[in-house]
Symmetry: C5
Amino acid sequence: MPKLRTKRLSLRRPKSKRALNQIPGTLTYVGHKESSETILEVIDYNTNYFERYKSKNPQDALKFENEANVTWINIDGLNNTEEIENLGKRFNLHPLILEDIVNTDQRPKIDEYQDYLFVVAKMLYQNDDGQLLIEHISLVLGKDYVLSFQEAGGDVFDGVRERIEHKKGRIRNRNADYLLFALLDAIIDNYFLVVDDISDKIEGFEDQLFENRQDDDLIHEIQELKRAILRIRRAVFPIREVVGRLEKLNHAIIEENTGNYLRDLVDHIVQISENIDIYREMIWSLMDMYMTTISNKMNEVMKVLTIIATIFIPLTFIAGIYGMNFEYMPELRWKYSYFVLLGIMVIIFILMLYYFKRKKWL
Amino acid sequence: MPKLRTKRLSLRRPKSKRALNQIPGTLTYVGHKESSETILEVIDYNTNYFERYKSKNPQDALKFENEANVTWINIDGLNNTEEIENLGKRFNLHPLILEDIVNTDQRPKIDEYQDYLFVVAKMLYQNDDGQLLIEHISLVLGKDYVLSFQEAGGDVFDGVRERIEHKKGRIRNRNADYLLFALLDAIIDNYFLVVDDISDKIEGFEDQLFENRQDDDLIHEIQELKRAILRIRRAVFPIREVVGRLEKLNHAIIEENTGNYLRDLVDHIVQISENIDIYREMIWSLMDMYMTTISNKMNEVMKVLTIIATIFIPLTFIAGIYGMNFEYMPELRWKYSYFVLLGIMVIIFILMLYYFKRKKWL
Amino acid sequence: MPKLRTKRLSLRRPKSKRALNQIPGTLTYVGHKESSETILEVIDYNTNYFERYKSKNPQDALKFENEANVTWINIDGLNNTEEIENLGKRFNLHPLILEDIVNTDQRPKIDEYQDYLFVVAKMLYQNDDGQLLIEHISLVLGKDYVLSFQEAGGDVFDGVRERIEHKKGRIRNRNADYLLFALLDAIIDNYFLVVDDISDKIEGFEDQLFENRQDDDLIHEIQELKRAILRIRRAVFPIREVVGRLEKLNHAIIEENTGNYLRDLVDHIVQISENIDIYREMIWSLMDMYMTTISNKMNEVMKVLTIIATIFIPLTFIAGIYGMNFEYMPELRWKYSYFVLLGIMVIIFILMLYYFKRKKWL
Amino acid sequence: MPKLRTKRLSLRRPKSKRALNQIPGTLTYVGHKESSETILEVIDYNTNYFERYKSKNPQDALKFENEANVTWINIDGLNNTEEIENLGKRFNLHPLILEDIVNTDQRPKIDEYQDYLFVVAKMLYQNDDGQLLIEHISLVLGKDYVLSFQEAGGDVFDGVRERIEHKKGRIRNRNADYLLFALLDAIIDNYFLVVDDISDKIEGFEDQLFENRQDDDLIHEIQELKRAILRIRRAVFPIREVVGRLEKLNHAIIEENTGNYLRDLVDHIVQISENIDIYREMIWSLMDMYMTTISNKMNEVMKVLTIIATIFIPLTFIAGIYGMNFEYMPELRWKYSYFVLLGIMVIIFILMLYYFKRKKWL
Amino acid sequence: MPKLRTKRLSLRRPKSKRALNQIPGTLTYVGHKESSETILEVIDYNTNYFERYKSKNPQDALKFENEANVTWINIDGLNNTEEIENLGKRFNLHPLILEDIVNTDQRPKIDEYQDYLFVVAKMLYQNDDGQLLIEHISLVLGKDYVLSFQEAGGDVFDGVRERIEHKKGRIRNRNADYLLFALLDAIIDNYFLVVDDISDKIEGFEDQLFENRQDDDLIHEIQELKRAILRIRRAVFPIREVVGRLEKLNHAIIEENTGNYLRDLVDHIVQISENIDIYREMIWSLMDMYMTTISNKMNEVMKVLTIIATIFIPLTFIAGIYGMNFEYMPELRWKYSYFVLLGIMVIIFILMLYYFKRKKWL
């Protein structure tokens, strides 16, 4: 079973960075990936044209802007806040938007501006070690461009890139709003994988409980999973509202045609949310099951002890009686009393066994 | 008691099929019934006319379309996506609808289009092995036709077929919208059977607990039932909204007259939902009961141990005293001391019994 | 304490009757009182006139209809569906209403038609054996008549009958809508009795727990009560909505004047609902209490065992030492060593007692 | 700590009084204070005038009515329903209002009539024995008068009386609506005291748990408190709605000016409700804590038993070996074997202690 | 780990101060910081001008009022109610506002008046001892001034003071409404720190549980934390509503421009609320974990006892048999019976070990 550990990139606001006295509207990257450099990838396309370009200099992005094509500019790495600020200025982004782009604690939301839409989401995916990563991603949809800002290199968009490059499906014939939809669809599709992993884990735990594994590690693993679910829930649930609002939004840069696709996204995200809540309830159930199996186990242990003690303590007492050193104990002198006593002991033993049998303890 | 195991046809999105990079609007069947072939059944009727036709070639369906009659085309088997696509084109269905038809993970919903309504539901029924099946079903209501797409052959519509064939009730005098209602009614009526089975199971568990069965299997069976309820809930609850919207919908192809019948459906589905939630609470109660019966059992075990140990350990100690080999122990020499000691032991024994009696441990 | 067992008349839809393929709008009685015959009672009155008539022939009801008087026709026994169908035709009732009248699983609701109102409710009352009965009752309010359909003979309306006959209160001066209110008021007043019984039961259980009764029967009785509360809740809660809608309804056959009385009913039913939820929380609390008293009990048992074992096992060991048969054990020869050892044992015994005293185990 | 026992004046509808067949709109006092007589107090005032008058004859109230002054008529004791009926007629009160005045089970509510407002509330206060009383109180606000009906003599209005008599604050300069506000304010202020007592009790219980008190009485006291909280909640929560509606009401007899004061009341009652819910959650926590302390205690008991048994049972066995009477046991003859054996036993003892030390059981 | 103890400044309404009969609209300080004196700090600024002034005489504040500048008057210490009353009169504040300023129990809220807005909030911060303080703070926003009233000296506003003094960010170029936003932002930013501390504590507890610490202190610390979370929740949650309303408010003294910043605040406070609820659920989980680790521990203890007892009690019995003093016991005479018996005992011992091994108790 793959490990499902959430790296807590985003839950906690690091104290040192987001200082108490930060001025609202200033950019402070609060994520953990400090050392990674900022990498820029531009994909520029229309029905007949396709260009892909990589650079470490965000300024290079600007030359691609051109009304005839859809331009998708993807920025990996958020800690070079200066570059992001420059880019923001170039695309006329509000300072608070820039703050949200680098603030990896920002919860998913959608902000509507006159010329563009700003969407914050969370990517969930497993890295090569099987660790679950919750990564902050910001999307800006303009008239003929989409900007995507990610914390780090890996992402879930390779399928979209391929579809654009190889002209699969209708993406090359559509506008930037469809690209935004395609990116959100890729993000949400990946949630299914994560949610499936949770389901696998829960079933794995049930099997382990059934095979009588009751060590403390198990309870810690269950607790860990519970926490992971809470985190995923926090990342996923607000998306529901985001996509819902996106569908209902009456904004010039979203073509009516795209609405059907967005409604489909809403369906998916509702389904994921419901599954998450089912798994949440199941995991609480697991805890109950764990408690009952422990209690059953203890019951079994106690029964063994009780059976042994109940059989042998009285017999030992009888042996003790005849181990006493009184001078006048008539039974001691009789020739067969030893064998008679052994016989009595065997009878007591058998009666005890029968008693426990009837009580169904054996 | 019939077995109530849910086959998990629909809970999980299989990883291999619904690949990460699927293009929205393409058809991929994600169910488990890959090998079954697609079978088509057409029932064409009006007040005076009835024809029933079976074929393995979906194209045959088309010749039945005819405004004068109500045409019900039922398709069993969803993995021949090409045929379904052809059918979809013939009836002008939107690509996203086709995607939902073959995506067995789609939750129940209703989509309103200009010329037709699209309803997704889940059939619950037990197969011959007593296993509970959750089967994905899609219904398309057009002006004079109903299309129904099922995953596999068995279904819950035989009663409707019979009523049409033998002119029972008013179905032959009504339009396609009444047929849709009749199909939904058949689906929902079947929920009552499943919910009754759950009730039987819960009572069975209670009886078993009462008869002191406390093995680990029971807890796993309860857990299994809990999971089944969660799954059924997920299949049933969205139907409530679907039927509710259907009733309130002001669509040309639903006659006003049918509204009363739909309101009746709403009543039924609300009733089922309430019962499901009652059973859910009862099953949580069962877990509590299970815990208390275990604890009671352990209490009983402990009492037996304590009574035996408390009676015999002191007596054994006394016997041990007189088993010591000191040279000068005056009691050992007295003639009746053995019998006196036996008497004392009997008195201690009786006092102990009395003590436990008064404590109500016996 | 009176027994509070709910007869499950109405929770389950019997499989054999409500067959899977029932045609919507047909009448099938699903209750359990198959053998009882249908009895009809007519009370016809206005301010100055009163007549009461009983018959086994529902057709007799029709001759009483007369605009000048209020006619209350009460039908006991629902399994003669033909008669009910005839009556329904005579009063122009919709087929779905007739279906709801005989479907004892129908949850409480109100349906508004042009010429009449249809109300479904549940009567709760105890029969002579102290068993709680949940009985399905349907009320139809027309311009100058009220029809009431009950499953069986006994009911809670004797007070209303008496008030009509003996001209108590204002009922003889008011129209049929006030009669409907009076009947609902009688039904709801009876809920208070049932809810009081629950309260008595809960207090009884608390007292029994306090007096240390912890057998498995108690937990089953608590479980039974919990289930009864869930059933009562299901019967009572929808009434809240029914009466609330009745109050707000702007229907010609409800006089404005009656509104105040209906508002009063709403108050009562809200109060009952709140009490039911309080009792529900209390009974969950009872389970907790039960668990803690079991645990306390076990603690007490364990303490007795531990005290006895802890005192006597070391002493027995000491006695065992001097029961060894080594040839060279100097203590055995000393004259007072037996008495010294007895003294040491007494001191150990006292120290142990003191230790347990200080630990507050004694 | 003062005792916090709720006298259940109002939870249960006594069966004998509120008979099943009571006619709606008739007056039946259902409280428990049957013997107390009805006492009337009139306070009549305007800015410059003050008169206070006590009588046992409610008819005396009428002579005070006078448009120039604010007249506050307080009636203690509700079981003389005839007098109340007379008073009601004099002030033109609706029969249902009179029924609610004497029905001490009525939950808090506000009814708006053309000429007056009717408010039902619950007074919480402790009597001299430290018992918590929940007392039914009804207030009628007319143009220039306030009527207050209480179950019994003691109340929480002494402060208001004093402010009127001694011209403290603005009360003498304001109209009857401000008097109503002042009375409600006095009632709600008293809730704070009761809620504080609950807080004290909870902390007391926590301290007792911490000091290892785990008897059954404690669990019963906690249960009692839980029940008290449920009752208080039921008395207090509806007031929130009452005051909220009072604030929003646009009624001629409430001056706009008083609105600010009412908004303040809403704040207070919201705060009390929040505290009650916090205490409710805390008390559930207490139960958990109780369970864990019991389990910890049992753990401790079990450890003592296990340590003693584990140390001495093997040693006793060894002693038993050398207590056997075989003729050929070479060790018995060796001179130092007794001492060697004692040495071995000491070593085993020390090793055991070390083992338990390392396991942290000591 | 820093200690997180909430000083209960504000939970309880002290009985002695807020007397039962307080007149609404009078000022009574109910906090605990009675002795601290009232200190006044004025910061007066516009884009080009800055002045900071401290005094113990609140009257000094008045000379700064001047339409051209933004004046921030901060008052530390609320128990000199007279001075506050004077200040209130000077700024035309409503008496109920003044009452709320000194009533430290007042929950967060916003009141809208024609000329000013009144906001009540709670500051959470840790003092030098690591204790969590919940401090009542009231803010009044007028056209060109902000008044802030605090219970005591320490606060969270130093960052704002610095930004004003050193012209950091845009604060010096904006109006009083931006200052109000900046103060609220500082308050809310501090919540993150407190919430982070809770997270640290929970993880600390988990680690301690994992390392098998199960003493009663831990449960009390967990309980303490649970209570702290409940208190923080009560302080923080109403702020959500306050800021939300502030954003939507259409008040002349809030510039449209500030709306974006307020929306940002809403985001932050929603995020904090969600985290608090996650921690709340986690801490309930902790209790469960605690219970299971205790049970596991007990299981382990019981196993040790059972293994020891089950091995040695039968062996001791066998030794007891041959310790009996019967004259005719043939085994006693045989030469090797002692060694044979020892051998049998060893075999029993090994079989027992094997049995426990197979049961996985070892």
